[in-house]
């Protein structure tokens, strides 16, 4: 059991560290995206319900003028902009953004810099930017984490006696204590987060049902495609579950001018803001409301209406009426992604995520610290070389991924705004810096490598507001004055991390080899 924990933890720990660091960061996906886009007001929130009818009038007028022949369109209402999307007679997609009050055409992109933003960390967290292969790899690493957690509990033996024990400045003892404290105290979170992560991609791990019923060999693909036999069957099953009579048909030429009144009605019936309306290519017309309470873990499904009959009227109907099993899975993914409980949960998930990172990092370091005391000679004559490689992989996976993450934010401000494909270059910079940290760790003596990479990470974190000031004129003080707390938070968290990395770097540099 001890060997399983040691070697399983080491080999899977390298990737697990990167996945955990990215996962911890992407709790604050929204603020990071706001900071990187250079436009902190990106997420305007819903349009108040009483303005829905007027906004719909504006949107409909534009649509009638710009696309009189469209049969497939979508209107999304937000506080500051109406987002329109439609397909013309040749099925080419068009988009436009309007001011909800004046109807004036707004710039298409609400981001001042073309960027993937925090979504880079989300994508890397679940798939390492490597498609289905990456998702499968992350899944195996997650399973290994569950194995390491359970075997760790068994190996530990003194969980309750050492529950509060942290002895510092005692070499190997301190590394073990830190490893134990970080993992034991956050164990409920760690078990929850690894298990729920696997459930999100259940289609990958248990594809047989989807393959059997819908003839789609890889389960995930069935879910990712917008139109597939899987989703058609889902919709039909949902229809049966709701037991609604067949919808009376809409008038042959549905007048768009009837829509604002329907939006007004929907607001009055539910008391919730209208999220938008859409006409699908099959002719069905939908109206959706903004979800009422988004802090509960199990939340009421957000209300949708289907427009039916002549004259057109609202009929409450779910777009997909999910089964209990699917709802359960939905709750598990809300839990994993911290999409409930507001900022309290975001911060708790972040802190517990940091504790998870500390658990993995100290575990990896512990492996080499133990063998520095006395070589276990597992690899015969090659042992020193293998240890050297393990040490380098430790440096790159622990310090390197942190350096790459902050370098990604730097790349966002350094890469010219007008450069074509700059969003891709930001991600490339992230991956290239990570690769470079491995090279650096292989070339430098290990203690120097640790100190230099942690030191550079600290420097980049601490200088982030300066870089922002010299490239955009913004910095955390200015964000605070303008009330952009999300962007403010990004820089303050970067500064805090920078301070901790400085401490770590100095500590490593001064340690006796």
């Amino acid at each position: 059991m001890s060997g399983l924990h040691t070697w399983g933890g080491l080999v899977f720990g390298w990737l697990l560290m990167a996945i955990f660091v990215a996962g911890t960061i992407c709790v604050f996906n929204g603020p990071i995206t706001a900071w990187m886009s250079g436009n902190p007001e990106r997420e305007p929130g819903p349009l108040p319900g009483e303005q829905a009818a007027q906004a719909m009038t504006v949107a409909v007028q534009y649509l009638q003028q710009a696309a009189p022949d469209t049969h497939e369109w979508m209107i999304q209402l937000t506080k500051t902009r109406l987002n329109l999307q439609w397909h013309d007679a040749d099925d080419v997609e068009h988009t436009a953004s309007l001011s909800p009050t004046t109807g004036a055409l707004l710039a298409a992109e609400d981001s001042l810099r073309d960027t993937t933003g925090g979504w880079n960390f989300v994508g890397f967290h679940y798939g390492l930017h490597a498609g289905l292969t990456g998702i499968v790899l992350v899944g195996f690493v997650t399973m290994a984490m569950l194995v390491a957690l359970v075997s760790g509990i068994i190996v530990h033996k003194r969980i309750f006696k050492d529950f509060f024990t942290l002895r510092l400045f005692k070499g190997q003892r301190s590394w073990l204590d830190s490893h134990n404290i970080a993992s034991v105290l956050t164990l409920p979170f760690l078990l929850m987060i690894s298990y729920s992560g696997l459930v999100i991609f259940q289609g990958v791990w248990m594809p047989s049902s989807i393959a059997y019923h819908y003839g789609m060999p890889d389960g995930l693909n069935a879910e990712l495609q917008l139109t597939s036999p899987y989703w058609e069957a889902q919709r039909e099953a949902g229809q049966r579950r709701q037991a609604l009579p067949p919808a009376p048909p809409l008038p042959a030429e549905m007048p768009l001018s009837a829509l604002p009144a329907l939006a007004q009605q929907a607001w009055q019936r539910t008391g919730q803001p209208v999220e938008g309306m859409a006409r699908l290519s099959d002719g069905r017309l939908w109206l959706g409301m903004v979800a009422a309470d988004d802090e509960a873990l199990v939340r009421a499904e957000h209300i949708t209406f289907r427009v039916v009959g002549d004259p057109p009227q609202l009929r409450q109907e779910s777009f997909y009426a999910f089964s209990e099993a699917e709802d359960t899975r939905g709750v598990i993914s809300v839990l994993h992604e911290a999409r409930f409980g507001g900022w309290t949960v975001s911060w708790l998930w972040f802190l517990c995520g940091v504790a998870g990172c500390v658990m993995i990092a100290t575990g990896l370091v512990l492996f080499t610290v133990k063998r520095q005391q006395r070589s276990a000679n597992e690899f015969g004559v090659a042992t020193p070389q293998v240890y050297r490689l393990i040490e380098a992989l430790n440096v790159a996976s622990v310090a390197g991924i942190c350096l790459a993450s902050i370098a990604y934010l730097w790349a966002n401000r350094i890469i010219p705004v007008n450069m074509p494909g700059r969003a891709d270059w930001e991600i490339r910079a992230f991956l290239l810096v990570w690769a470079a940290t491995l090279l650096h760790a292989l070339l430098r003596p290990s203690q120097r490598a640790w100190a230099e990479q942690l030191g550079l990470t600290a420097l980049l974190c601490l200088a982030l507001p300066l870089l922002n000031f010299f490239t955009t004129g913004d910095w955390f003080g200015r964000y605070a004055m303008q009330g952009h707390w999300a962007a403010f938070g990004v820089e303050v968290v970067a500064l805090t991390c920078g301070a901790l990395f400085i401490l770590a770097s100095v500590k490593v540099a001064r340690a006796r080899p």
């Binding site: 509060f164 942290l166 002895r167 105290l185 802090e295 509960a296 409930f340 309290t344 708790l348």
Partner: protein, 90 residues
């Protein structure tokens, strides 16, 4: 916010009581050990406070949300107690 703060304080005191019910940490913090009945009392108070710390969260949201938040909230509080004891014992 009040609910979360209350829960923070309750779980913090819970962990502190549970830690002080252990002889090792009595020596760390108080410099002496407590008589066993005292330690038992502390342990009971600790458990009660820990269970009580879920209540403000359940009231603020609902049972399921409250318990889920609680599962992650008590961990950082335990870490605070560990760091405090470590700092105290040098």
């Amino acid at each position: 916010m009040m609910a979360v703060m209350t829960s923070f304080l309750l779980s913090l005191s819970a962990w502190l009581a549970l830690a002080l019910a252990m002889q090792r940490h009595q020596r760390d913090v108080l410099g002496r050990t407590l008589p066993p009945p005292r330690a038992r009392l502390l342990r009971r108070i600790g458990w009660l406070l820990l269970i009580a710390s879920v209540l403000p969260l359940v009231r603020h949201w609902d049972a399921l949300t409250g318990v889920s938040v609680w599962g992650a909230l008590i961990s950082p509080m335990a870490l605070v107690v560990v760091l405090a004891i470590t700092a105290r014992s040098g």
